[in-house]
């Protein structure tokens, strides 16, 4: 049986970024204690309930986990380690905002067992950072990474964004250089997507915001896929780059169809073929946890043809693609006898390639991933 991943959601931020539509709350310090208690309760319930497989990845994400004071983090980690069998070599990641960390804090986190940090750097241009509502500036990012190295972290990731308002190709090129020069072993690069209901989307709709031309945005994408590998950061997923062996093992679980449990409001689990999400509202979550009510907002058992589609399109997000033998073992059917027609059409369009052992997205396929992914879904 596959080893388990654990995700813990910390839905608090100092300030909401203008592009973010994810569950997080500002000025909610008064909820820290109650939320941590509720989290630990959920961890205890689920950890204690069944014989769970050993855990080899933990991911504390947000929101901004780094604004949660250390004692709370400690409490959560203790809860996890007592209720689950976390392996000594497990990857234990935490997201951090460069504007909220201190050297002491990072050192303490390391002591608590966190061994991987992911900084939401997003940009090395202060003007752009301000434009998307980030609380930190470039100097903060540089210092944060330096402190992380000093604290003994060897597994550090930073997030970058392209296609930001006012961003230029040349500007992004120099940002990429700065990112690579920092010497972190992992880099995630996301294109900005305007999500409905966010201030940035509203500004765009009102014509107060101009985004880079499509051609420029595409050029930024091309540059990132070309430049980063030359710096030793190999692309292993559509948006992720890492030095060999430093891929984020927790995120790989998503693509490899491996189980994970999510704790906290709006957290997602995938376990024994079921996808489950927790209620999104933080106070609702705390209250339900407290009175012993169910915190499940959505629970779906997928039909076999949906499972197959998910399995394929998630695997195809990685550069190694999908192992055909593993597919056959998982579903007890040959990939080509099930998806042959779909696959050949995609191959004809130049979106996918195959050997007898493996299928994967071509460069073009990476760009038009949605066309490929959607093709595998049942009609």
């Amino acid at each position: 049986m596959s080893k388990l991943g654990l995700y813990v959601h910390i839905p608090f931020c100092r300030q909401k970024c203008l592009y973010c539509d994810f569950t997080s709350y500002v000025q909610a310090e008064h909820l820290f204690d109650a939320y941590t208690t509720a989290l630990c309760q959920q961890i205890a319930e689920q950890g204690g309930m069944l014989c769970k497989p050993p855990v080899d990845t933990v991911y504390i994400g947000g929101g901004t986990p780094s604004i949660l004071p250390l004692p709370f983090i400690e409490k959560i980690l203790t809860s996890l380690t007592t209720k689950f069998s976390i392996q000594p070599a497990a990857e234990i990641s935490m997201e951090a905002n460069p504007g909220t960390v201190t050297k002491e804090q990072l050192t303490a986190l390391k002591t608590l067992g966190i061994n991987r940090l992911s900084f939401g750097v997003q940009s090395f241009d202060d003007k752009l950072l301000a434009a998307i509502g980030r609380i930190h500036r470039t100097a903060d990012s540089l210092i944060a990474v330096e402190h992380a190295f000093a604290a003994g972290f060897t597994n550090i990731s930073i997030d970058l964004m392209y296609g930001l308002p006012q961003q230029t190709y040349d500007g992004f090129a120099s940002e990429l250089k700065q990112a690579a020069a920092l010497g972190t072993s992992h880099l995630s690069v996301y294109g900005l997507k305007l999500e409905e209901g966010t201030p940035l989307a509203a500004a765009f709709d009102n014509g107060q915001l101009t985004l880079p031309e499509e051609a420029a945005e595409e050029a930024m994408y091309d540059l990132m896929t070309d430049f980063l590998p030359k710096k030793g950061l190999l692309r292993y997923e559509i948006s992720n780059f890492a030095c060999q062996g430093k891929e984020c093992r927790h995120n790989l679980k998503y693509w490899h169809y491996e189980p994970y449990l999510g704790f906290g409001c709006a957290a997602h689990s995938f376990f024994q073929g079921e996808r489950i999400s927790q209620v999104a509202d933080v106070e609702d979550y705390i209250k339900k946890m407290l009175i012993g009510a169910s915190t499940i907002a959505m629970r779906e058992t997928l039909a076999q043809n949906v499972v197959m589609a998910e399995y394929v399109f998630l695997a195809l997000r990685t550069t190694t693609g999908m192992d055909l033998e593993k597919f056959r073992q998982y579903f007890n059917i040959d990939f080509f006898s099930h998806f042959g027609v779909v696959f050949n059409k995609l191959r004809h369009q130049g979106l996918v390639s195959a050997t007898p052992k493996q299928i994967w997205l071509t460069e073009l396929g990476m760009k038009f991933g949605n066309i490929v992914f959607g093709s595998f879904l049942p009609d």
């Binding site: 559509i238 990476m366 991933g369 879904l377």
Partner: protein
């Protein structure tokens, strides 16, 4: 019942003048339906009819009425379709009657269809009883409308009934007028049987049910009857009347209206307008007026999913059971695959069929732009009729082409005469006549190509007259026109289903309009898509759909795969209504773009 106590009548009216509501009131008043059974507009049975507020099929109902003279009468109301597409059906219904209620809206007065239907009724020598409806409206002007009826149609309106079907005013007066003024039917029970079929429908248990008016003779179960047009002989299984639900009786006699069932499986064997006679003792001459219905408008119907082809055929066959005027035959398009070329009486008929296929049979269809039947005179002397633009021979093979023309009657307030003339001119119309109905309204007569009518003439007419104009038309023959085939090329490949036949002088304009429109409809794809309009090998317009640069979901928040999948599913749902044409994905509406252009 002796014929002296039978009255057979129709209601004729322009659309929206209140015909169906009046029919409801008559049913209610005579107790043909209990209050519990009473549903608004019971005669419009199809869901679609009710939604659109129009009558598509004729229906009949028998009303039992005790008049003020103390006698009991059997009144047969035969409802008629109110749309120009179904003129032939109207004429058959009228042929089954001796009288007609002419319903005119007290606020709007005579409209084009009122006139068309009145002339049909007069042709059948019907006694016409004018009913001025909607007199409860604040804008009602019954006196003006009366004068209009007298001036325009020449009917005496001194005892026209003022009514409001909505509020029930005048219903009794109408019934009394029917008894008093509509002549009882003639006909003898001992003559050989002759019965006019004015409608039919298919019942899955009884087979085709013929709606008949007995002219002479008797008909009862067990009797052998013959359809004179099709020469088909069958044995009657049931006869009955409309109450309005089918109610069996022992026999039907002269003057009566009712139904005949004879285990006939194909609606084609029971043709509207045909005469039923006795197989043993037939009449020598059928009743006058029968003609085979020929479609006026054709379009291609294709399933979006090619696997739905058989389902589409089944659905069309089922609809045809009830609708002898629907014709279809298999057709293949390079762009759309296997489908059917279908013929309709007109645009409304086409719309209704298409909607029923999608709604009742759950099919997703691509409809190509409607076409008329062109007569092509080839240089080798051969004459062919084509109803699919892509079948037009090459210019070298064509001597000349003729297209169908209609005589269009347009009734419009004074102020809009200029606008109508301008529009009709633009649509290649030939002015024929102009008459004043009264001091404020005018009847214009034009000869117009039918293709312009089905293109956008009616919509334009409505918009340029703020909805005041009414239109009626009838086919009046073929005329030679300078027509060319306009082809559309996507990514360099001609798409047969997008070809149209247009007038040479309008080709460039239409080509430009069409390419622009398609540019707006065809979504961006992985590559650039040139859209060209061409006559022969000459490109006359071009647009380009730019290539999409990227399409990939980047981020995955905390393992929320469900959200990702839902997004992909939504995207895929959008693609479902697209057809792969060569390498290009084309949305359904592109094939109708040719029609709706502004």
């Amino acid at each position: 019942m002796d014929t002296g106590h039978i009255r057979n009548f129709s209601i004729i009216a322009h659309i929206d003048h209140g015909k169906s509501t009046l029919a409801d009131r008559l049913l209610e008043y005579t107790g043909a339906l209990s209050a519990r059974e009473m549903e608004d507009q019971v005669l419009d049975q199809m869901e679609l009819e009710r939604e659109r507020g129009i009558t598509i099929k004729a229906q009949a109902v028998q009303l039992d009425y005790t008049a003020k003279d103390g006698e009991k009468y059997m009144l047969n109301l035969i409802d008629t379709p109110g749309h120009v597409d179904f003129t032939y059906e109207v004429s058959r219904s009228l042929a089954a009657c001796e009288g007609a209620l002419l319903v005119v809206d007290a606020a709007q007065g005579i409209e084009a269809q009122t006139l068309a239907n009145v002339y049909l009724a007069l042709e059948h020598d019907l006694e016409i009883i004018p009913v001025i409806n909607k007199i409860d409206l604040p804008s009602a002007e019954p006196e003006r409308v009366k004068t209009e009826i007298e001036d325009v149609i020449g009917l005496d309106t001194s005892d026209a009934v003022l009514a409001s079907a909505k509020t029930g005013i005048g219903i009794e007066e109408i019934l009394e007028a029917i008894v008093r003024k509509v002549p009882p039917p003639q006909g003898k029970a001992d003559e050989p049987l002759s019965a006019l079929i004015f409608d039919s429908h298919f019942d899955s248990y009884k087979g085709v049910i013929a709606y008949v008016r007995i002219m002479n003779g008797m008909i009862q179960p067990g009797m052998k009857i013959k359809m004179m047009a099709t020469n088909k002989t069958v044995e009657v299984t049931e006869v009955g009347v409309f109450k309005p639900f089918l109610a069996n009786v022992d026999q039907l006699g002269p003057g009566q209206v009712g139904f005949v069932a004879a285990s006939v499986k194909n609606v084609r064997d029971i043709r509207v307008g045909d005469t039923i006679t006795s197989a043993d003792k037939p009449v020598t001459e059928p009743l006058p007026g029968y003609r085979k219905i020929t479609p006026m408008v054709y379009c291609g119907l294709y399933p979006v999913e090619s696997s739905d082809y058989e389902n589409l055929r089944d659905a069309l066959e089922k609809l045809q059971l009830n609708d002898a005027s629907l014709v279809f035959e298999p057709e293949t398009s390079i762009a759309l695959g296997f489908g059917f070329r279908c013929g309709f009486l007109g645009l409304l008929h086409m719309d209704v069929i298409q909607e029923r296929l999608e709604r009742e049979y759950n099919l997703t269809l691509i409809t190509t732009a409607p076409s008329v039947i062109y007569r092509v005179f080839k240089t080798d002397g051969e004459v062919i009729e084509i109803e699919n633009p892509s079948k037009l021979p090459t210019t070298q093979e064509i001597d000349h082409v003729e297209e169908p023309y209609v005589k269009a009657t347009i009734i419009v307030p004074n102020d809009f005469v200029g606008a109508v003339m301008e529009l009709s001119q633009e649509k290649r119309g030939e002015f024929k006549d102009m008459k004043y109905l009264d001091t404020t309204r005018v009847t214009l007569t034009y000869h117009l190509p039918l293709s312009e009518i089905i293109y956008d003439y009616f919509d334009k007419l409505k918009s340029s007259t703020r909805g005041y104009a009414s239109l009626d038309y009838e086919l009046c023959g073929y005329q030679t026109s300078a027509l060319v085939k306009l082809d559309i090329l996507l990514n360099g490949d001609p798409v047969d289903a997008l070809s149209v036949i247009v007038h040479r002088d309008r080709a460039t304009y239409r080509g430009r309009l069409l390419t622009e429109k398609l540019k707006g409809i065809i979504p961006r794809q992985m590559f650039e898509i040139p859209i060209q309009a061409a006559i022969g090998s000459k490109v006359i317009a071009r647009e380009t759909v730019r290539a999409m640069r990227k399409d990939v979901l980047a981020k995955c928040y905390g393992g929320d795969i469900t959200r990702k999948r839902k997004l992909l599913e939504k995207q895929k749902e959008g693609k479902k209504r697209m057809k792969q044409v060569g390498s290009v994905e084309v949305p359904q509406e592109a094939f109708m773009a040719i029609l709706k252009m502004d």
